[in-house]
Structure formats: C-alpha cells, structure tokens
Subunit: 418 residues, 2 copies
C-alpha cells in the first residue's frame, strides 16, 4: 500500500486523557481512534494488525477441530433467566436496551446461553458429539471503569469457543489440546516467553480453570510464577492447599503483575442442564452435554504486544502480526531516479507476495524515519541517492536496529524463502 | 470439510413462525439460526457464504481505492446531537443503552457522524483528500416490525463506505466509480440480470440518490423499470418531472416489486459542516469536505440470492458465493473400496485447492441427495460402487441438473483451470 493513499496521520502527542502506553502508542501511530472511554475504533493499520492476530487464532482453533460461526449481539432475556444470569444484581456487566414494544434485550457479554440453546437443534445423539463451535464476535461489557487502554474496554471482539463433549474425559482431552493451541497463539504473536499457563479458581465442575497471563507492569492481576515449570498460580488460589496439590512451594514462586490474555474453563453441565441440552447415549438414556469455554480477546492481545515489545521510538511488531512486513521508505528529494527505483522495488516485492507499506510521500527524511520507527514494521528498506549509487538497498530491522545492504535479488530471496 | 464434523443438521420443516422463503431455506439447510424476530445467527455454512459475499464486496471496494477500518457500535450522544440525529423523535431506529453512571449511549444504525468526527484528526489540507474509508460493521436498527427473514433485521453487518472529496466534481467521479463497482458485485453474486440502478430521492445536496434494486416478489419496494436502458425509477420519485429529466416515458417502464440490495448517496457538506470537517485549499481558505455514503448489506444480499436462485429442492448457490464449490457424496453402503476412493478424491481435490464439503456420513443415498440439493453447492460428485465400476465419477451441476462422468484427472483439470 502506498502511504500517500493511507489517510491516517501520525501524531507527536497522545491525547492527554490517555494514560496507558498501549493506547498512547496505537493512537500516536494512527492504528486506533478513541471513540470514548473504553471504546476504540480500528483504523486501517490497526485493523490489519488485528486481522493478523485473528488469523493466527483462527488457524490454531481450526487445527484442533473448531468450526467457526457467528452469533448475534442482541440477546433475549428468556434464555438468560434460565441460567440466572439476566438479573443485573447477578451479572453487573450487562448493557441492556429495548424494543419499541418495551421488551428488554441484552447485549451479549459472553455467549454460553445462546450457543447452548442453539445446539439443542443439532445435538441429540452421542453421534453428534463432540462439537467445537467458535466465533470472533463483539462483546459488550458495562465496565464501571474502563482502563488500561485497549486492555479493558466496553466493546471488544472476543474469540470464544465452546466445547460440547459426551463426558468429562472427552472434555478434558479437548481442554488440554486447546491449552496447547493457546500456547502456540501466544508464541506466534511474540509473547511466548512472557506468558504463563496459570491455575485459577474453577467452579462447581472443575477444580481449576486456567488463565494465560503475560507478565507486565501494565497488568491488573497478581500471579505467582514458577519459571522452572513454566506455570503460575493466580493470587485468588494462592494457598497452601493448592500449592501442595500442584507440587509447588512458595520459595519456587515469584510474585508478578500480569495481563490475562486468555482463559479456558470447564463448565460441566451447568448450562446444558439449565437449558436442556442432552444427548441419548447408546442405551437410550438422556445425558446432559459436558461443556467448556475458551476465550481470547484479539485486541487485548494486540495491545499487550504493543505494550511489551515497543521501545521509546514506537511500536515493534513481530513479523506474524505486523500490518505490513516491509516499510519501503523512499528518500527522493526531487531525484526522479530514486522514485523510479523505489516504484520498481515496490512493484517487484508486491508481485512476489510481500506485504509492503511504501512511504512515497514528499516529506523530509527525519520525518519519514520517525514515522517509520513509530509504525514499527519489522523491516525497513531505504531507497535514496546513496543506495542508488551503491547498487544495494539499505535494510534495517526494527527490533534489533541491525542494518544490512542487499541487492534486489538478495532481498527477494530473503523475503520469499522460508 | 468432512460433513461428519459439521455439527449442523438439516431439517424437513422450517419453524412455523418463519414465513419468508429465504429464512425458511437458510434455516432448513442449517445456514442460519433464528435467535429472535429480526435477529439471526450465522451457522458455519452460512458464515462461509456470508464471508464469500464480504470478500467480493471487499475486492471491489479496494479496487476503487477504498481503505478498510472498523468503527465501534457504541455511540456517544454528543456527536449525533450536532447533526440533530440523536433525538428519537428525529431518528426512530435507535437502540439506546446507558453506562452505569447513567450516561446514555446509542448503538450505531449508521456511521456518518463518527467517521466524520474521526476524519478531523487526519484531514486538514487538500493534499489529504480524497479518502475512501469503509468497513464491514454491525448496525443495530430498532425496526418496528422485522420482516422478510434476513432482508430486514434488527442487527446486521453493513458494508458502509464514506467518501471525502475536495469538491462535487471529485465526489461525482468516485460516486460513478462506486456505482460501477456495485454493478460488478451484483453481477458476481449472480443477481446482475435482475438488478437495476434505480433513481431515488436525493436530499439537499444532490438531485438523486441511487438504489440498486433486485426484482423479486419478496421485496418491499416498487420501482419502474426500463429494461432497454437497464435503469429504474423508485416510486417515490416516479413523476413527470423526473421522467422528463431522465428522458423516460411511462410507456417504456414496467412496474415491479423489488429488494433494495444497495444504495449510494451524495451527502454534500451536511455532516462536514455540522461536525467541523474542513480542509485548507491552496489559497489557505477553509473548505468543508464534500461527502458521500455507500451501503450494501452482505446478509441481505445472501438472502436475496437464496430467495431468487433457489428451487423447490433447496438452495442453488452461484460458484462465487457457495460455501464450498463441490459437494462430494460417498455412497459406501459398507463397501470399503468406495470409502477409500472417496477419501482419496477428497484429498486430491483439497490439495488442488478446491473447496470441498465431503458427505462421509453413514446415511442412505436418498437422505444424502435430499440434503445435497437443500445445501445447494454448485457441483455434486458422487462416488459409489457404480462409479467405481465405471472408472469415472458422476458430476451433477446443481443449477442445471446436467450430469457428466469424469475421471480424476479430467475433474482436477475442470476444477483448477480457469
């Protein structure tokens, strides 16, 4: 994409009311726009990054047997009354609205109820199980205080997968597979080494649930980390009984502040019993379906990457989540040969399938480099009178600052073979 | 995808409260689920079809210079008060909700106001224009009566593009390019010959707006069609003055009922003036930006295709919007050779990049064929003892019913070259 066609502008200063680093950087770089407290728009570069994160999660969910669908945001109260989650006294994060007839509707803050009700149309026999529907869908949560930029917002897309299994053993097998898939997601977005599978409180049907917590001072949670075993314990279950159960001792654990980037939860038959989702086993008896739920917020994940991997010059995207892989910066200064060479490089790379943002703007080198650092694409290629004379392009890695000089064929080779 | 892994089931009968053909078929085939009146979920096959339609629209919008972004559903009243579209007396389709502080928020039924406000951060000079942001985003409309299945719903994704131009001439050029892009969209989804660019009322800034109307008894609109000129006039502007202006006479026009599948609208400076979006021209004067808006609802388009191209056996998808191109139906009847052959064909086609739904279920031929007709994929391939003996697969076109027999290499050739 030619940067002259990208309408977003970078800015020197973040809005004064924005205190979190992730939102400050993403706003300054023109990735997001703040609509109001806790509500953000995704601008073109932000949407591309977000879609990369979504693509990674989708791939990993498909690999473990997930099937994508899409449920509505508007929710009928009847379904939620059956599980006792309609009343604002019970669930304090509802946004509610109403039809012109006065009928009250909710805006889904999660989707256990509607997906369970829906599956009654499709599950009746043990042959219909297991099933793993998931979606990328907008949740609405009436947070008392939106905070931490894009970490805790009132409107956000969530990847929520729900598992429907014949029994706890079948459930547990998928639960473990999903935990592994989550580890691959966090690895691929660049947070693998800082993210811990964390034991948290379960519920009536399972001893523990698991969160995936990324160590960061910007987080809201407190966890106790065993670096040796690459696991952690959430403060809420940090007690002698749990530690003994997990074979951990306090001396092995380091207290850390962290961001919850994902969670997985065994639901048992809480929802299937309340909503009448059962199957007939081979003896013809009705058995309630055993469920689990599995969430990741792609925008929170994007914000966590922005928060953790950035430096004082701006964003630093890992290759798999960058909106474009290459930032091609032309320093023409009125030299038509430089323009021709940069245009040609843009064409060659694009044809080779490399995603390129091409800074073809008529601007000073200092401004272009500052913008380039702020935008944070993995590899910057510079075309100037100097590189033209040398016959090689300057290639600068955003993360390391390493500079190399490469010919066109060397570049194409480097960017297309892996 | 193996059909045994697709959890959705077809059903013989549509729900009794569902009177529209598009929703009846889409529900029976397991493409959508009705959450409540005017609110539908997209099941896996429905989501795939929907995404195909979205992909076509996205391609055509990108070709004319569109840049994708994503705005929030939650809306701040302040922005809308400035254009006098907050009051329920003025706009009767708002769903409203509120924060815990009592602050009232709206759920966007369209996005002229927030996109105009947002663009103030990015447009200040004539060099920043034109700009063509668009999105696929969920709109909420508090319809008094939801009707016509997926045609008029209370929650739906809309592709809305907004054009920001220096002046009316620049605007008109894009407006015409977008009209052409819309024609290509309707052509590609299979509605080209039934869809007419229709003159409708403009507003304070343009004489006419244009709708794209698809002739169908299931529609809500009345238009007057000139088949010769491939244009139409909406009943609301069907008068002598307009006909004279367009060089049409009543005798050339046929009255038809139709579905509005898209619209494009010149907005002039109504929004930019109210919200202070202006640019400096080369003399340094502030000029309000000239705007337009361009909408298509992908789910309505999918429903229109379902409504118009189906037959008494079920859905009939054109190739570009079908959830899968091929429906591979194996009639094994306990014959392992048939299973092996069908598995192998599935593998070969999938590896060749062909999208295949593979009915590997243990079910009777009659049930499989009835389901296959209902699902409506463009090409059915049958593997049975009979085809095994003949050494060729049976290939049936869903739309025409034409049957051919082809070897594997002939099939791969047919499905991969174009």
């Amino acid at each position: 994409m030619r940067q002259s066609k990208l309408f977003t502008k970078t800015r020197r200063e973040a809005p004064k009311d924005e205190v979190s680093k992730n939102a400050q950087l993403l706003i300054r770089a023109g990735y997001v726009h703040k609509e109001m407290a806790g509500v953000y728009d995704l601008l073109p570069l932000g949407l591309r990054t977000f879609n990369k994160v979504v693509g990674i999660i989708r791939e990993e969910m498909n690999k473990i047997g997930g099937t994508e669908l899409h449920l509505s945001a508007l929710q009928d109260s009847e379904t939620w009354k059956k599980t006792d989650r309609w009343d604002d006294e019970k669930v304090d994060s509802w946004f509610k609205t109403s039809l012109k007839t006065g009928t009250e509707l909710g805006l889904g803050f999660t989707h256990e109820e509607p997906i369970t009700a829906l599956m009654r149309d499709h599950i009746s026999s043990y042959k219909d199980l297991p099933a793993y529907p998931y979606q990328f869908q907008t949740k609405f949560r009436n947070e008392t205080r939106a905070k931490s930029g894009l970490m805790r917002t009132r409107e956000f897309v969530m990847k929520d997968l729900y598992s429907f299994s014949k029994n706890e053993a079948e459930h547990q097998k998928f639960y473990d597979a999903c935990a592994d898939a989550y580890e691959r997601v966090f690895e691929r977005v660049g947070l693998g080494d800082k993210t811990y599978k964390t034991f948290a409180s379960g519920g009536s049907f399972s001893k523990y649930s698991h969160e995936f917590q990324t160590i960061s001072a910007a987080g809201e949670d407190t966890i106790y980390v065993s670096r040796d075993r690459k696991i952690a314990v959430n403060k809420e279950v940090y007690n002698d009984e749990v530690l003994a159960d997990l074979g951990l001792s306090k001396s092995d654990l380091a207290e850390e502040t962290s961001i919850e980037v994902g969670n997985i939860f065994g639901l048992g038959t809480r929802f299937s019993e309340a909503l009448g989702l059962a199957y007939k086993d081979d003896s013809g008896s009705d058995i309630p379906v055993f469920m689990g739920s599995y969430g990741i917020g792609p925008a929170r994940l994007m914000a966590t990457v922005a928060e953790l991997l950035s430096d004082d010059k701006g964003l630093v995207w890992p290759e798999e989540v960058a909106p474009f892989r290459v930032h091609l910066v032309s320093l023409a200064n009125g030299n038509d040969d430089v323009v021709t060479e940069a245009d040609e490089l843009y064409r060659e790379l694009t044809e080779a399938g490399v995603e390129v943002l091409y800074d073809d703007r008529d601007a000073r080198a200092g401004e272009k480099f500052a913008d380039s650092d702020l935008l944070g694409l993995p590899l910057r290629l510079v075309v100037s009178e100097k590189t033209l004379a040398a016959g090689k392009f300057e290639c600068v890695e955003r993360a390391s600052g390493t500079t190399q000089h490469k010919s066109l064929s060397e570049l194409i080779g480097m960017l297309t073979t892996r």
